[in-house]
């Protein structure tokens, strides 16, 4: 059944010396990265292709992975960004009407290392107790001593600018909207596009579903590289600016922080994840590294204004520091599990940001309204300028 499965050994070593042995799948080779775990039970393909995972080894806590194979529509970017995938069991023979390829084959073709047969729960508990750390997965070096040494030697993600590795090289326009069971993604015609408000999305490692949700909300979307300066962006005459998700330490992306600082107040801004953190830095706030981050699709987030709870998709290892932002922005959302900051709103400045992923993919759609809210903010900004956010608040 499992042709060639579970014949080649592989090993995972962590910087603190913990070693796990299992079997190789995907590409034969070795990968280094920060070891994190994701607790979402669906959406491994979206996780693999999320640029925010650049520099990380990902362990899926759900034990059966690969069940539904992979397909074109579920990719969040042009390629796999996860450095290595760690699972309990990898399914070679997928079953789903949309599947085009097995996970194993996908990884192999993308030259990404996978390891299965791991006690992933033990691994997760280890990370929970000892924090995220560097790790190595290898199917070519099976010497634990050598692997641990490699993991120890690997540079920490802190202070490392990973955005430059994932951002697009040149600006481009986006024209696909929401996905439907029958018919796939909706394409918006050029004529229709022409009359839409224009949002510039700064690509720190943007997920395609953010672009689709912005398009579905009514925007005309143009994506620009992370290095774009405020001047360059404003020169394109945007109606609104979007700050995307992305990998790694926000403090390492000083060029992005500077650009955002220069854009604040000039246009309505909406930021997600790394975009939220960069904006926090641009305001003068601080960010810090979480023990093992939030990676999953079940995190409860409280909207402090409405008292409603959203179940959210999350993927971040850093967070904005609340104390450092007092007086600079209003806290709008908070994580109910650990009370970390989940959202900020401008004080007089027309922006709002969230730490979590309203575009989901994978994960629940509870927070999708934020894209429509951003669209409304953009409309109000056109009419009321700096008062737009206040107007928006009173409408809600």
């Amino acid at each position: 059944m499992k042709d060639g499965a579970r014949t080649k050994r592989a090993m995972l070593a962590l910087a603190d010396g913990r070693v796990f042995t299992g079997y190789a799948f995907g590409a034969v080779g070795e990968a280094v990265g920060e070891m994190v775990f994701n607790t979402a039970m669906t959406g491994y393909q979206e996780v693999l292709t999320d640029p925010s995972y650049c520099g990380q080894l990902v362990c899926m806590t759900y034990p059966e992975i690969g069940n539904v194979g992979v397909n074109e529509d579920d990719a969040e970017s042009a390629r796999i960004y996860v450095e290595g995938l760690i699972v309990k069991e990898c399914w070679r023979a997928p079953s789903n009407w949309r599947s085009r390829m097995s996970l194993d084959e996908y990884l192999e073709r993308s030259n990404v290392v996978g390891i299965e047969g791991i006690d992933t729960r033990a691994l997760v508990r280890h990370i929970r107790e000892h924090g995220a750390q560097q790790g190595v997965v290898s199917s070519i070096d099976l010497d634990p001593v050598s692997l641990v040494a490699k993991a120890k030697a690997a540079p920490s993600i802190v202070g490392c600018d990973l955005v430059r590795r994932v951002t697009c090289e040149a600006a481009y326009d986006w024209e696909l909207g929401e996905w439907e069971l029958a018919g796939g993604f909706k394409r918006v015609s050029p004529e229709e596009m022409r009359n839409r408000p224009r949002v510039i999305a700064i690509d720190y490692g943007i997920k395609r579903n953010i672009l689709r949700r912005l398009t579905a909300a009514g925007f005309r979307v143009r994506v620009v590289p992370a290095f774009a300066t405020a001047q360059e962006i404003l020169a394109q005459g945007p109606d609104a600016i979007f700050l995307s998700n992305g990998p790694g330490d926000p403090e390492a992306v000083d060029y992005a922080r500077d650009a955002v600082a220069a854009l604040l107040g000039k246009r309505p801004i909406f930021g997600i994840c790394l975009g939220h953190q960069i904006l926090a830095l641009a305001l003068g706030g601080k960010t810090y590294k979480l023990a093992f981050g939030h990676h999953g699709a079940n995190h409860p987030v409280l909207d402090l204004k409405t008292g409603r709870v959203e179940i959210t998709s999350q993927n971040h290892g850093f967070a904005a520091d609340e104390a450092s932002l007092r007086g600079l922005a209003e806290l709008s959302h908070v994580n109910l599990n650990d009370r970390t900051i989940e959202g900020l709103r401008g004080l007089g400045s027309p922006f709002f940001t969230v730490q979590y992923h309203p575009e989901a993919s994978p994960g629940p759609h509870d927070a999708d309204y934020l894209f429509r809210r951003f669209y409304r903010l953009t409309e109000l900004f056109a009419r009321y300028g700096a008062q737009a956010l206040e107007r928006l608040q009173s409408e809600q």
Binding site: T39, G43, Q45, N67, K88, A93, S95, T120, R121, L181
Partner: protein, 1069 residues
């Protein structure tokens, strides 16, 4: 928001007797809810007719009414107690239906009672198929094309448009009663008619068949602030067409991409909002076309359900408990997640294991019922298993079923081998209780995965998993015991030692030794709702062959309790009740308790009940692995029924200390030869009997004992395969069948004491003192299984001398066996002499009933006695004979099995029980009958047809009925006899005599009650009478004694109306 301060008291309705489709999952949800409501300081009033439940224990509610679940009774309870609110969503369909009636007949309004959890409008919108359909279309969701019909004409019209096949679903029935697939026109007509009859609202839904589509369920919760979370997704291995209760189900969903899952999740949120379930849990079912992905909504249950119990156990999220708190005003984010303590209940559990549930069937009990599954539920219980992979959880679930299956063996030994290809494919096509085994067997015989999928419509993902198991079986058969590392992998796929032993030829014991030598042992992982993201504080564990063990056993004094496994006829909720009591009592006594069980429906598998919960199969291998880790100072096996009892010997040999009565004493009572010796030693009397090891011995024995004889295989519970045999011909037929079925087990042949009165005695012993718990006189005569017979406590017709004798015998037996704990003895009184029929030195089915009747928690006392306490120190030193009369009546699943003769006999067939309490027998019996879902008529015509042997006893029955104003009608022989006695009695044709005959009469609704005692050998002739009565819901009695009791009860009903009285009030006496 917090709890609503305007609510002071809440009325909760339970689900009544255990029936197919409504089992002890509602005791689990109800018990959780009651605990939560009481913790909130609310005054809780409970109505439930089922005495075998934990929820009806007097300490779980402030006032417990064990009374029939009728609108009249409920109204009276409401009138007396004036609750502020009624919570209708925790007692299954029964409670929901009753709540609808109370709302619609104005009771709730009259007494100012608010419906909480779900409003009447929401319930109706979810339950009424037409309204539900409209609601779904309104929010843009897809459904199978369908038409509502309220008559056969409308139905005919509808099917012209839809084409065959179609599904016919009657509205508002539980467990899909009457739901059926119609492939051709004849089937269609038959099933529409049946559906219209069984629907309380006399309507059926005729629906486009989506048989073969993938089936999914989501468990959804909503709070007052409109927060909606999905607790669990469930995928059915059996595709659409098989009732979800009869399907093998897996959590979480395995074959959906995130996009597809989120579409389903969005739909579920929209549905619960549109239907308007304010707070609490709902179950929503979806179907997905396997090739196009088209998703349709199937139905929604606006209440907790069997699936929500499963989801709770599968995720560790206590749906019912949270639902109860939401109903009284809390928001999800105001409630903590009990397992992590630090995070809120407002989240979606994520799991890092796979859960498989497999239903347990009872087709062997209903010989004329076809083992075929469809939209109408037929299973009587279920087992659940947790594994790190699907394969592991599947194989663990299989051995949890306790059907002598330890893996995917070939069905009936030979399996499909030698069958023509067409027959093999047919087995794959037809859903049955054995289909998964057929799938494995077909793969073994070289049928391809693709073919198996095409025929069975089971998703390839599941079939491939089975194929991988079969592949490893092949490897084991060919290569023998694998080396260490491979063995660990094989064990990780869920292979039991027993199965590996079979496949390799090494045998279970050798495999176990080999495995131990190689140190291939399971570890224990935690069910924690969060995939280890947060620390868990509740030790809810399952085994896996992995690297890290999380069990962390304590060094406290601890006792392990083995549960009863899946419910089945003969071993149900009563045993779980006892296990829960043992755990509660021992915890109170300062011990740590460890529960082991694999039944997701039960209270015992609530992680709140015991200090530690192991959700594991109850096999020697699995239990001994836990013993090795926990090393408890004792193990209790006598509370979970036959399942743990069977393990007692092997566990003791493996070094476990079995608490209470010794395994040897148990064997002395169960082993026929040793039992005979015991009876002789004590100078007691038993019916003449013998042990037959082959057919000739049985025939010779029966001849010397004299017919009729009672025959059965030894070591069975629930009278499995037990029969009264009237002559040699019958015996020959029986022996050929039974010897095949039971191989090594000898047959017991006993004299059948025809017409004897049976008495059950439950007692408790501490090794020194024996105290009678209760004596129950059966209403039906000997020959009807004690679990099926109605009984009364205290006995109503026995002399005090006889009672004293029963007490004396019971004490002698208990002392001689050295019973420490509970003992149950069954007696027959025949011509004023006492005979002992059987002795069970363990908890019996009647323990909860007796405990509630006498107001003493026998199972708790028994648990304490087993750890060395004395009855004197526990304050229970003499029998308590209550002033009130308690009647237990049984409830049967016959309506689920078309074509089966609803006749009682020595083999147990009931699924549940109810209790009626009053100050004399007749009204107590009337209550029990009403509660048993067959309310007695007050007027009309009674049909009588009795066998010759009963004619002499018919006079008092007939005069009782006539006095109460009933008309009599009878078939020729009986009518002549009655007229000769001076009764006015009309004659009606037997069926064989042609129309208009008695069945026509019943069908036309002209008969209010049927008394039909069939000739022992000619029962088949009258089967259609009983069957029709059953289908038309006409009360029927198959013994004169039962009918006599009914006549008395009717007279009592006509004399005065029955007022209600709480259990707490009765116990104050």
């Amino acid at each position: 928001m917090g709890r609503r301060q305007d609510l002071k008291s809440v009325f909760v309705i339970g689900s009544g007797p255990i029936t197919i489709g409504q089992a002890c999952e509602f005791d689990y949800s109800g018990t959780q809810a009651l605990k939560a409501l009481k913790e909130e300081g609310l005054r809780v009033i409970l109505l439930n007719s089922n005495p075998a439940t934990i929820m009806t224990d007097p300490e779980f509610a402030d006032l417990t009414y064990i009374e029939p679940l009728t609108p009249e009774v409920a109204a009276e309870v409401i009138g007396r107690e004036r609750p502020d609110a009624l919570l209708p969503t925790l007692g299954g369909q029964t409670a929901l239906n009753l709540a609808i009636e109370l709302a619609e007949n104005g009771t709730l309004e009259r007494f100012g009672v608010e419906l909480i959890g779900a409003s009447l409008a929401a319930i109706k919108k979810a339950e009424d198929r037409d309204m539900f359909r409209q609601a779904m279309l309104k929010i843009g969701l897809d459904l199978p094309a369908s038409v509502i019909a309220r008559s056969t004409e409308q139905a005919e019209h509808a099917v012209e448009k839809l084409g065959l096949p179609v599904i016919i679903r009657p509205s508002r029935t539980l467990g899909g009663t009457g739901g059926a697939l119609a492939r051709d026109h004849a089937e269609f007509r038959d099933k529409v008619e049946r559906g219209l009859t069984s629907s309380p609202s006399h309507e059926v839904l005729i629906e486009e068949s989506i048989a073969g589509w993938k089936e999914f369920e989501l468990e959804v919760m909503r709070d007052r602030a409109d927060n909606v979370v999905i607790i669990c997704s469930i995928e059915n291995l059996d595709p659409m067409g098989v009732h979800t209760g009869d399907s093998i189900t897996v959590a979480p969903a395995q074959t959906l991409t995130d996009k597809e899952y989120q579409i389903m999740r969005d739909a579920a949120q929209r549905i619960i909002r549109e239907i308007g379930v304010d707070t609490g849990g709902s179950n929503i079912q979806f179907a997905i076309h396997p090739e196009t992905g088209r998703m349709v909504v199937i139905e929604m249950n606006p209440r907790v359900s069997r699936s929500s119990a499963l989801a709770s156990k599968a995720t560790g999220f206590p749906i019912a408990k949270i639902a109860a708190r939401l109903a009284v005003g809390y928001r999800l984010d105001e409630l903590p997640n009990d397992i992590t303590r630090k995070t809120p209940a407002c989240f979606e559990p994520t799991i890092d294991y796979v859960v498989t549930k497999i239903p347990r069937f009872a087709f062997e009990k209903f010989r004329d019922a076809a083992d075929e599954l469809g939209p109408q539920m037929k299973s009587v219980g279920e087992a659940m298993a947790i594994g790190r992979t699907f394969k592991e959880s599947l194989q663990k679930a299989l051995r949890s079923l306790e059907i002598d299956s330890f893996g995917l063996e070939s069905p009936n030994g030979a399996g499909l081998k030698g069958l023509p290809r067409a027959a093999i494919l047919e087995r794959l096509r037809t859903p049955s209780s054995r289909r998964l085994y057929y799938v494995a067997d077909a793969l073994r015989l070289g049928v391809s995965v693709e073919e198996v999928c095409a025929e069975s419509r089971i998703d390839p993902w599941f079939v491939r998993s089975v194929a991988e198991i079969v592949e490893v079986e092949r490897e084991l058969s060919a290569a023998g015991l694998p080396a260490k590392e491979r063995l660990r992998e094989v064990k990780g796929m869920g292979f039991s030692d027993r199965r590996i032993g079979e496949l390799t030829g090494a045998g279970e014991i050798k495999v176990a030794h080999y495995r131990r030598r190689l140190e291939v042992k399971p570890v224990f992982k935690t069910v924690d709702t969060c995939a280890a993201e947060f620390q868990a504080f509740t030790p809810y564990l399952y085994s896996a062959y992995e690297g890290e063990d999380e069990s962390r056993p304590s060094s406290r004094r601890k006792i392990m309790i083995l549960g009863g496994g899946p419910n089945r006829i003969g071993q149900g909720i009563e045993f779980d009740y006892c296990c829960v009591h043992a755990s509660l009592a021992l915890r109170e006594a300062g011990y740590e308790t460890i529960m082991v069980n694999c039944n997701p429906e039960t209270v015992s598998t609530d992680y709140d009940v015991s200090d530690r919960l192991y959700f594991e199969p109850l096999t020697f291998e699995d239990v001994s692995a836990i013993l090795e880790v926990e090393r408890p100072e004792g193990v209790i096996v006598q509370f979970g029924g036959q399942t743990p009892l069977k393990l007692a010997g092997s566990l003791a040999r493996a070094g476990a200390r079995i608490l209470g009565t010794s395994p040897d004493a148990i064997d002395r009572a169960e082993d026929r030869e040793r039992f005979n010796a015991l009876v002789q030693t004590l100078n007691l009397k038993q019916p003449r009997g013998m042990l037959a090891r082959n057919a000739q011995e049985a025939l010779d024995g029966a001849a010397s004992i004299g017919y009729p004889v009672l025959i059965r295989p030894s070591y069975v519970l629930g009278g499995r395969a037990m029969e009264v045999i009237w002559d040699e011909k019958g015996l020959k037929a029986y022996v050929t069948q039974a010897l095949m079925a039971s191989e090594t087990r000898p047959l017991l042949v006993d004299r059948y004491l025809e017409g004897a009165v049976e008495v059950d005695v439950d007692a408790i012993a501490d090794g020194e003192r024996v105290v009678i718990g209760g004596m129950m006189e059966h209403v039906e005569p000997a020959g009807i299984h004690s679990g099926d017979s109605a009984c009364v406590l205290p006995p109503r017709s026995l002399t005090s001398a006889l009672l004293a004798e029963l007490s004396r015998w019971t004490k002698l037996l208990a002392r001689e066996l050295g019973v420490v704990g509970l003992i149950n003895v069954q007696y027959a009184i025949f011509h004023d002499e006492v005979y002992v029929l059987e002795v069970n030195p363990r908890a019996s089915r009647t323990v909860p009933f007796v405990s509630k009747a006498i107001g003493v928690p026998l199972a708790k006392l028994a648990a304490l006695v087993m750890i060395g306490r004395k009855l004197s120190s526990l304050g229970f030193t003499e029998e308590r004979i209550p002033r009130h009369i308690s009647v237990k009546e049984s409830v049967f699943p016959f309506s689920r099995f078309p074509g089966v003769d609803p006749l009682l006999g020595p083999e147990m067939k009931s699924t549940g029980e109810v209790m009626g309490i009053d100050d004399s027998f007749a009204p107590a019996f009337a209550r029990a009958q009403t509660a048993a879902l067959t309310p007695l008529p007050r007027e009309g015509t009674v049909f009588l047809s009795v066998r010759d042997a009963d004619k002499s006893r018919i006079e008092s029955l007939a005069s009782g009925l006539s006095r109460t104003g009933f008309h009599l009608v009878a078939t020729e022989g009986t009518a002549r006899y009655l007229r000769a006695l001076g009764f006015a009695c009309k004659t009606v044709n037997k069926v064989a005599q042609g129309s208009p005959h008695v069945v026509d009469l019943i069908r036309s609704g002209k008969i209010a009650m049927v008394v039909n005692t069939p000739e022992a050998t000619g029962a088949v002739d009258s089967a259609s009478i009983r069957r029709t009565a059953l289908e038309r819901r006409v009360p029927y009695f198959t013994t004169i004694a039962g009918a006599q009791a009914a006549a008395e009860a009717i007279a009592a009903l006509k004399q005065r109306s029955l007022s209600v009285r709480s259990l707490q009030d009765y116990h104050r006496e």
